[in-house]
Symmetry: C2
Subunit: 577 residues, 2 copies
C-alpha cells in the first residue's frame, strides 16, 4: 500500500486521475486514513454535496494480508446526514483487493459539471473512467449483474443505488461479498450521497495478478495469526454465538434485558421478539436451504453472516443483521422475518442504511402515516424511497428529516443520525457513546453494550450512570484504533476478555508491519484519530451542546425498568476531553 489514487471528477475535460506516493499519509489505514485526509483537506464548513467535499476509500493497515478478519473497508467524508466528519466501514472483498493493488486510499474529489454518471475500473495495469448513463437509477443488484457480465465474476464492486444517485442523506455505499452480491454496506451518515454527488456509480476492482501483502516477519506473523484464530474461536461470542446465529443472536439477549427499543423507543421489550430472534432466523434459513454461517469476506473466521432464502428456496438477501431486524422489526412492531428480509433486500438494492431506514419508518408510524406493526405498509414506504417520490425523498433523508417533515418531537437521533438498537435508558453506557461519538448516534463507535449487557471486558451496571463515561471513552478510543487496522470490530469480544488474544493481535500487527507497538501505542493511535475528528467537528460548528440525547430519553421513563438516561451533561462533556 504505497499509492494514493486521486480522481478529480470535476476536471475541465472530464475526470482526472493522479497517482501519488503516500506523501504525508504514511502509516495510516482505514479510519485513521479517512479521518486524517478529510480533516486536512476538506473545509469543515463546506456543503457535503459540494465539489469541496471528498470521499476517501481506504483499506485497513492489515488489509490484503493473510491476517484473519482484516477485510474492513473505511469510507470517509463530511457527512450529509450529520454535518460531522464521517467514517463508515464495511466488509466484503474491496479492502483486500485495493490493498493487494497497492492503494492505501482512493480519494474522489471535485464534482462533474454535467449530469453524467461514471464507472471507474481499476486493475493492476490501469485506471479507466467512463461515463455510462445506462447505469442511471439501477439498483445495486442489477448493477452488479451488469458489471459481472462485462468484467467477470472475480471483481469486487463499490457502488451506490438510486438513493445515492438522488443524494439522499441515508444513502449507503455497497461493497460486494465473495458471491458478487452487494450486501456489505458502509451504511451510515450518507456516504452514498457523497459518492452520488461525485457522479460515481460504481468502482470495479480487479486484483488479478496481485499477490497478497507479505509480513515483515513471516514466521512470527504465521504464529500470531494462529494464536489469534484460536482466541477468536474459544470466546463464546465470536466462537459460538455469532457463527451459529449471526449478529441477530442479540435479539433475545437485548430484549430479555429490557433494552430492546420497541415502537419508536416507547417500551423496552417486544412481545414478538422470539419470532424474529437469531435462533428462529437461523433455523428458518437452514430449513430453506440457505446458510446461517457464512463469512462476508475472505479471511473471516467468525462467519457471522448468512444467506436468507425466500419461501421457495431462492436467494432473497444476506442474513439480515441484528440492527436491521430490530430497526425494521421490533422498532416498528413487526415480527415477520420475511417482511424484514424483503426490506433488507430493498435497502441493499436502493443503497440505503438499514438502521436509518427502519428508525425512519418508526418515526413515520409515530407521526401517524401508518400503524405500528403494519409490515406491508412498511415495505411500501421503503419502495417509495427507491422510486424517489416526494414521500420517498422525505424518508430517504432519514429519521430527523422525516420527524421535521411531519412536525413530531419524539425522534431518536443524535446529530441527525438515528439511534441503533439499544435503548440508552436501559444501557446507559451506549447512551454515552450515542451522545458523544464524533459520528452522531453510532453503536459501533464505542460498543458499551458488550460490558453493560454481555459482561465482556468487565461489568458495569447498565441501569446506572456510574462508570459509563470511562467505559465509553475507553471503547471509543480502542474502537478508533481497530477501525484503522481493517480488522472486523467483532475481534473486540475476545481481545477484551483474553489478554493472550490481545497480545496475539499486537504480535500480528508488529510482525506484519515491522513495528513494536504496545497497547499504549494502540490507545495513542485511537486517541489521535478521535482528536482529529473532534477538531474537525468543532471547526464545523459542533459544541458540547450537540453531545446530547433527545429530551425524551431524559423526560420519559422506559418500561420494564422505568429508568431514564441519567448520565449528566457535565459527565458527557468529560468523555472525549
Amino acid at each position: 500500500m504505497t499509492q494514493i489514487l486521486r480522481i478529480n471528477m470535476g476536471g475541465p475535460e472530464g475526470p482526472e486521475v493522479t497517482q501519488s506516493t503516500l506523501d504525508g499519509y504514511e502509516g495510516l489505514g482505514g479510519r485513521a486514513m479517512t479521518s486524517t485526509v478529510i480533516s486536512k483537506e476538506v473545509s469543515p464548513v463546506c456543503h457535503p454535496l459540494s465539489a469541496d467535499n471528498k470521499l476517501v476509500i481506504a483499506p485497513g493497515l492489515m488489509s490484503g494480508s493473510a491476517a484473519v478478519m482484516s477485510g474492513r473497508l473505511s469510507i470517509g467524508c463530511k457527512s450529509p446526514l450529520t454535518g460531522t466528519i464521517k467514517e463508515a466501514n464495511a466488509g466484503g472483498q474491496a479492502a483486500l483487493m485495493l490493498a493487494k493493488l497497492g492503494y492505501a486510499a482512493i480519494i474522489l474529489e471535485g464534482k462533474p459539471e454535467n449530469d453524467n454518471l461514471y464507472k471507474i475500473i481499476i486493475n493492476k495495469d490501469k485506471v479507466v473512467i467512463e461515463a455510462d448513463n445506462r447505469l442511471k437509477r439501477l439498483g445495486n443488484y442489477d448493477l452488479i449483474a451488469k458489471m459481472n457480465e462485462t468484467y467477470g465474476d472475480k471483481v469486487c464492486c463499490i457502488s451506490i443505488g438510486p438513493a445515492g444517485e438522488m443524494k439522499m442523506s441515508a444513502a449507503s455505499v455497497a461493497v460486494t461479498d465473495k458471491e458478487q452480491r452487494p450486501t456489505r454496506h458502509a451504511a451510515r451518515g450518507g456516504v452514498g450521497a457523497v459518492m452520488g454527488a461525485k457522479g460515481v456509480k460504481v468502482i470495479v476492482i480487479d486484483d488479478k495478478g496481485c499477490p497478497m501483502r507479505q509480513a515483515k516477519d513471516p514466521e512470527k506473523f504465521k504464529a500470531a495469526n494462529k494464536e489469534f484464530v484460536a482466541g477468536i474461536k474459544k470466546h463464546a461470542v465470536s466462537g459460538e454465538g455469532l457463527p451459529a446465529f449471526g449478529t441477530n443472536v442479540l435479539t433475545n439477549v437485548v430484549n430479555e434485558a429490557g433494552a430492546y427499543p420497541t415502537h419508536n423507543f416507547k417500551i423496552g421489550k417486544f412481545a414478538g421478539a422470539a419470532k424474529i430472534s437469531g435462533e428462529t432466523q437461523a433455523e428458518l434459513e437452514i430449513s430453506r436451504g440457505g446458510n446461517a454461517t457464512h463469512g462476508c469476506h475472505t479471511g473471516c473466521v467468525i462467519q457471522c453472516s448468512g444467506i436468507y432464502n425466500d419461501k421457495d428456496g431462492n436467494y432473497l438477501t444476506k442474513q439480515p443483521e441484528y440492527e436491521t431486524v430490530w430497526a425494521h422489526g421490533g422498532n416498528c412492531g413487526i415480527d415477520d422475518l420475511d417482511a424484514i428480509a424483503q426490506m433488507d433486500r430493498l435497502d441493499d438494492d436502493f443503497g440505503i442504511d438499514t438502521i436509518e431506514m427502519g428508525v425512519t419508518i418508526g418515526v413515520a408510524m409515530e407521526a401517524g402515516l401508518l400503524e405500528f406493526g403494519d409490515a406491508k405498509g412498511a415495505i411500501d414506504l421503503v419502495k417509495e424511497v427507491g422510486k424517489g417520490t416526494p414521500l420517498g425523498r422525505i424518508l430517504g433523508n432519514g429519521a430527523a428529516f422525516t420527524g421535521k417533515a411531519y412536525g413530531i418531537e419524539r425522534v431518536p437521533v443524535v446529530k441527525g443520525q438515528a439511534l441503533p438498537a439499544y435503548d440508552p435508558r436501559t444501557v446507559q453506557g451506549i447512551g454515552v457513546t450515542y451522545a458523544t461519538s464524533t459520528m452522531g448516534a453510532d453503536h459501533t463507535s464505542g460498543y458499551a453494550v458488550a460490558t453493560n449487557l454481555l459482561s465482556v471486558g468487565g461489568k458495569v451496571d447498565p441501569l446506572k450512570p456510574d462508570g459509563q463515561v470511562e467505559l465509553s471513552r475507553n471503547l471509543q478510543i480502542s474502537t478508533a484504533a481497530i477501525d484503522a487496522t481493517g480488522m472486523c470490530l467483532f475481534i473486540a469480544f475476545p481481545i477484551l476478555d483474553q489478554p493472550e488474544t490481545f497480545q496475539a493481535l499486537l504480535d500480528l500487527m508488529n510482525s506484519f508491519l515491522g513495528t513494536n507497538m504496545t497497547s499504549d501505542d494502540v490507545m495513542a493511535l485511537g486517541k489521535s484519530i478521535l482528536k482529529n475528528e473532534k477538531e474537525f467537528n468543532f471547526r464545523a460548528g459542533f459544541t458540547a451542546s450537540h453531545d446530547r440525547l433527545p429530551g425524551f430519553f431524559i423526560n420519559e421513563s422506559l418500561s420494564p425498568h422505568n429508568t431514564t438516561f441519567s448520565v449528566s451533561d457535565k459527565e458527557l462533556d468529560e468523555v472525549l476531553n
Copy 2:
C-alpha cells in the same frame, strides 16, 4: 402594561391561566421582552416543538399609546427553522389592543397531551380558552370570518393557518389589520409551528372599554409626536416612496443596482422587473379600485400597505410586499403580478412566510421540479403546502429542507433560513447581516441596504467589503432597540438621516415612559438584547462557523458586477463581539 398572561397548554386538566405582575421583566417591550423571556425560561437545547419551548407575544414599549407607528407586535421562541432564538414581528392591530388591555406579554407554555385545537379569547374582564376542533385546517381567511361572526368585527386575531397546525418550519403567525384581514404576519423562523405545537389556533383580542395608554408628560409627548410625524413626512423614503408605491418601490432600485437575486441567486438583474415594480403595481391597484396607500395599523402615518384587487375588482390580498414580489417573482423568473398576488393570498391563508416560500420555490426550480418562469407551476406548489401532501410537507419546511430533499447544493440560506431580496455579492453590507444576525438570514435585523443602496445614514460602497462590518453592527444594534419599542422599522429612514427626528423619537419615548434616555442608552438597550440572543444561540450550539454565507456566494460571481461576497470570515467574527 403591568401584567403577564401565562397560559400553560399542558395542564393536567386542560389549559391553565396565570396572570402575574411583570416580576423581573419590568421595562421590557417587544423584542427585548421576547428575547429576555426565551433566554431566561427556555432551554436552548430543547426541541422547538416540545413542551419546553415557549411562545412569547409582546407589544412594544410604546404600543397602545398615541405615538405614531407604535403598532408592531413581537413574537419570540426557539425557532423550529433555525434552531436559534427567534423574534419575528408584525403590524396589524394586536400590539395596540394587548397594550391597552395591560398585557406586556402573553406566554404560551407546555403542550396539550391530546389532539385538541384551542381558541383563546381575551377581553378586559376575562381570558377564556375553549377547544374548538371545527377550526382544524381552516385557512386564516375562513377562520377570521368565523371569529368575526362570533365575536364581532372590532376584535383583533392572532392566528395560524394549516401550515402552523402541521408544524411546518416556515409557518407564520397572522395578525389581523384594521379591516379584519389576516394579512400582517410574524412570518419568519416558524413561529407559527410553535403556536401549532401549543395547540392554539387563534387568540381573539377585544380591547373594548380599555383606554389608550397615557404619557407621563402629555404635553411634551404631544409635541414630540407632532415633530416625529413631520420628520417622517419630510423624508423621501418614508414620506414619498413608501406611501406611493409601498415597499415594492424597491424593485426598480435594487434591480438597477444589479442586486436583485434572479433565478435562485444566479444573476443580479431581472428582465421582467418593470412588470412587477411598485410603480406598475400601484397603477394596477388603483385602476382596479384597490388602494396603493394604506396603513396596516391604527396610528401609521407612512401608509406603505395597500389593497390588491383581482381583475374583476374584488379584494384578493393586501398589496404584496417587495420581499414577497421578489421571492415569488424575479427569484423564480415570474413577471406576472396577478400570479404573485395569488401566491401572496395563499401564503397568508395557509399561514406561511412569503420569503421562505418563494425562495423554496426557487430551490425547487433549481432542483428541476419545474422551470424558472412557470407561474402556474409555482402556484400549484404553494397549494401543495396547504394540502399537506408529502411534497407540501417538504416545501412547507423551507428552502434548506427542500434543498436537502432534492440533494442540491445551491441553497441560499443562513442557519437554515432563506435569504431575502438583496444579493450579498452586490450589497455586501446586507451579506454581513445575513451571516451574523442572531436570527439566521434576515434583512430586517440590520438593513444595510439603506446605506449601501439608498444612501440613507451615510454612504458605504455596496460592492466592497470596507466599512460593512461597522455598518451592519450599528444597524443590528439600533434595530434591536427599535424592535423593543413597538415602532415600525421604517422610522429608521428619517431617524438615520435627520438628527431632529431622532431627537423627536427620544423625546416621544422619554415623555411617554418618564425616562431620560439618550442615544447611548438606546444603543445600550440594543446591545443588551443582542447579547442575550447571542448567548442563547451559543448555548444552543451555535458558533462562528454558523455565521457564514453558503459557499456559492464566495465561489460564484454575480453579473452584472461580477463580484463575489468578499467580507472575510475574520471580519464576520468581529461583528457582534
